[in-house]
Symmetry: C2
Subunit: 361 residues, 2 copies
C-alpha cells in the first residue's frame, strides 16, 4: 500500500463539516484502491486566530509543507471582517499559498447535465459549459510591493497596491496553462487589460512568446472587461482561460456562478514541477457563515477537491475517478443539498450527502 | 432659444454611424424643445492617430473643454492594437477623461420589458433588472504611478502598475454614488477587495465615513469576486453600485451583458459640481470594427447617451425625456437592429433605426 501524509485545514464556517465528509470519502476510496492516509488536522484562518492569535501559525505552515498534499475547507467570517490586515483570516490563506509556492490555481467550471437547471442562464446557453480558469496565484496585486497606507504630495492619506509581474512569473503560469489546454480541447484564451496596463502588456508579450512552444494549442487574447461579458453571453466559447491573480479571482467566481452550482466546484493550486512541496486543494466556495454548523452545506465541492488532490497532487488517478464517479452517481440517484435542489429530487443535509457518496464509492 | 456648443467625437469603427444618428436626433428634439446646438466634430482615437499621429490632438481636447458637452462614438480597432502605449486609441480616451476631469462614470444597466428575451439569463432572473454602476474614472490603476517596465532585483524585466486612491478621490466618487442612489431606490452597494488590498481598505473606510452624510441611503459592501457572482445569480438585488476604475470597468460590462442589449446602453462621465467643464457621454459598447461601415450598428446606445447629455450635462430634462420616449416607442413598434433582433420584429439597419426614432421624436 502507498501511504500519504495529508494536512487537513478545516478552517472556518462550513469548513469543518465539508472537510469531515471529504476525509471519510478519501479514507474509503483509499482503502479500496490500496492507499493509506495519515491525516493531520491543523488550524488556519479565523479558527487559528481565535486559538493562537495569528491566521497561519508556523506549525500549520510547516505541517502543510512537510505533507504530501493539503486539503482546505474554507476561510473567513463576519467576526474577523474588521480585523487589521495581518490579523484577517484571508491573510492566512495568502500566506499559505505563498508558503507552499502554489502559483498555479486551476478552477474548473463545468455544468453537469444533472444540474443544468441550477444555472440562472438559459438552458441552451448553460448546457455543455466546460471551462478551466488557470489563475496566477502568488503574484500580481495580491503580493506586489510597495503596498499599504501613505501620504501623497498634498499631505493626503492614500491606500496603495502594486500590480507587478516578472517574465519568469508569467512564463511559468503560461506553461501550466498551455499544458492544461493541451490536455483539454486545445484552446487557450489569455485575459488581460493590455490596452491600459503595462503589467498586462508584458503578460501578453510573454504569453505570445511561450505560445511558440505549443504550436498545437490555439491561443487568443481578450480584454478582461470583454471576458466578463463573454462569460455571460456565450460561456461555451471558452476552453481554458489563463489570467493574473485579481482578474482570475473575479472571472473564476463569475464562471463558477454561471454553472449555477458553486457548491460543486473544486480547485487545485500547484507549484513548479521541480518543486517537491505539496499542492493545495480547496472548494472554491467560501465559508458561508450564515449556514455554518447547520448541516446544510454542500460537501461535494470539497469531495471533488479531494479527487483533484488524488489526481494532481498524488498521481492517484484511479482513486480520483472512483470519487468523481461516486459523486455523479449520487446526483443521478437524485440526492441534492439545498443549494442545488430542484423539484423531484431528494433534499439532504451535508452529512447525509456524505453518506450517500460513501455508499457510491 | 437656449444654445449649446456640443463637441462630437465620432472616433473609430461604428462610431461615425451612430454619432450621425444621435446628432440628427439631438437636432430634432432640440428644435421642438427650443434648443439650438452648435456641433463641432473633432477626431479622436484611431481616426486621430491616422490623421495627426496622436490619439488625442490638442485641438480636440481644447474644443472639448470649451464646449458645453461632449458626445463620443467609440474608440479602437485591430489596426492599432499593437501600437505602443502612447499611440493606442485607448490612450486618447484616457487622456480625454483626464483632461475633462470626469471622475464619475454612470453606467445604467436596465432590462427593458421589450428586450427581456435578448438576455442570456432566464426571464425570471433578467426581468426588472434596473441598476446603475458608478465607476471612478480618473484614478486607480488606470492612472497610478509608478507604472511601466523595469527590472527587479534578479535583473529580470517586470511590468508594473499602481493601484492608488487618496481620501479626496474616494470621498467625491462616494458622494456622487450616494446622491445617485438617493434619486433611485436608496440602496448603495460599494464593491472592493478590502480583504486583500490596502487601496480597498481605505476605499471602504471612506465610503463608510461619507455614509454618515446620507443616513437615508442603505449602504452595503461586497467583495468584487462575490459581486461578479451576484450579478449572475440575482442582478435584481442591486440598485446602485459604486466601485473603483478597474472593478467598474469589469462589472459594468458584465452588468450590461446581463441585460442582453449592450447596444442599448448609454453612459455619462461627470466632473465635480463646482467644475464648469463639460461632461462626456458615450455608449458603453465598443467600436465593433467587424461591422463598421455596414449600416448594421445599433445607434440606440448613442441616442440614449445624447439623452443623458441633455439631462446630466445640460439640465434639459424635457428634451431628454422626449428622446427616451421616442426610443421606447420605436422598440414598441417592433424595430430592431441585428444585435437585439428576435422573431416577429422588423430587422432594420443603423440608418433606418435612426429614421424611425426621428419619426417618434
Ligand atoms: C479569500 C480571498 C483572499 C480569496 C482570494 O481572493 O484569492 C478567495 O476569494 C479566493 O478566490 O480563493
Ligand atoms: C477602451 C478602454 C480604455 C475603456 C476602459 O477600460 O475604461 C473601455 O473598456 C471602457 O470601459 O470605457
Amino acid at each position: 500500500t502507498r501511504s500519504y501524509a495529508i494536512t487537513l485545514l478545516p478552517g472556518d464556517g462550513i469548513g469543518p463539516e465539508v472537510i469531515s465528509v471529504a476525509k471519510n470519502v478519501l479514507l474509503l476510496a483509499g482503502a479500496i484502491e490500496g492507499i493509506e492516509f495519515n491525516f493531520h488536522e491543523m488550524p488556519v484562518g479565523g479558527a487559528a486566530l481565535d486559538l493562537t492569535g495569528v491566521p497561519l501559525p508556523g506549525e500549520t505552515l510547516s505541517a502543510a509543507q512537510q505533507s504530501d498534499a493539503v486539503l482546505l475547507g474554507a476561510i473567513g467570517g463576519y467576526k474577523w471582517d474588521n480585523n487589521e490586515k495581518h490579523l484577517k483570516p484571508e491573510t492566512g490563506l495568502l500566506q499559505l499559498r505563498e508558503g507552499l509556492k502554489v502559483f498555479a490555481n486551476l478552477r474548473p467550471a463545468t455544468v453537469l447535465p444533472q444540474l443544468v437547471d441550477a444555472s440562472t442562464l438559459k438552458k441552451e446557453v448553460a448546457e455543455g459549459v466546460d471551462l478551466m480558469v488557470v489563475r496566477e496565484l502568488t503574484g500580481g496585486i495580491y503580493f506586489g510591493k510597495p503596498r499599504g497606507f501613505s501620504t501623497n504630495q498634498n499631505g493626503e492619506e492614500i491606500g496603495l497596491n502594486t500590480e507587478v509581474y516578472s517574465i519568469s512569473e508569467i512564463d511559468r503560469i503560461a506553461r501550466v496553462a498551455f499544458e492544461t489546454a493541451r490536455k483539454r480541447r486545445g484552446k487557450l484564451c489569455s485575459v488581460d487589460k493590455a490596452n491600459v496596463l503595462e503589467a498586462s502588456m508584458l503578460w501578453r508579450k510573454r504569453v505570445m512568446a511561450i505560445a511558440l512552444e505549443y504550436p498545437d494549442v490555439e491561443l487568443t487574447h481578450m480584454y478582461v472587461d470583454n471576458a466578463a461579458m463573454q462569460l455571460v453571453r456565450n460561456p461555451k466559447q471558452f476552453d481554458t482561460i489563463v489570467t493574473n491573480n485579481i482578474f482570475g479571482d473575479i472571472l473564476s467566481d463569475e464562471a463558477s456562478m454561471i454553472t449555477g452550482s458553486i457548491g460543486m466546484l473544486p480547485s487545485a493550486s500547484l507549484g513548479e514541477k521541480a518543486w517537491t512541496g505539496p499542492g493545495l486543494f480547496e472548494p472554491i466556495h467560501g465559508s458561508a457563515p450564515d449556514i455554518a454548523g447547520q448541516d446544510k452545506a454542500n460537501p461535494l465541492a470539497t469531495v471533488l477537491s479531494a479527487a483533484m488532490l488524488l489526481k494532481y497532487g498524488l498521481g492517484e488517478a484511479d482513486a480520483a475517478e472512483r470519487i468523481e464517479a461516486a459523486v455523479l452517481h449520487t446526483l443521478d440517484r437524485g440526492f441534492r443539498t439545498g443549494d442545488i435542489y430542484s423539484d423531484g429530487n431528494k433534499l439532504v443535509g451535508c452529512k447525509e450527502m456524505g453518506e450517500e457518496v460513501l455508499k457510491a464509492v
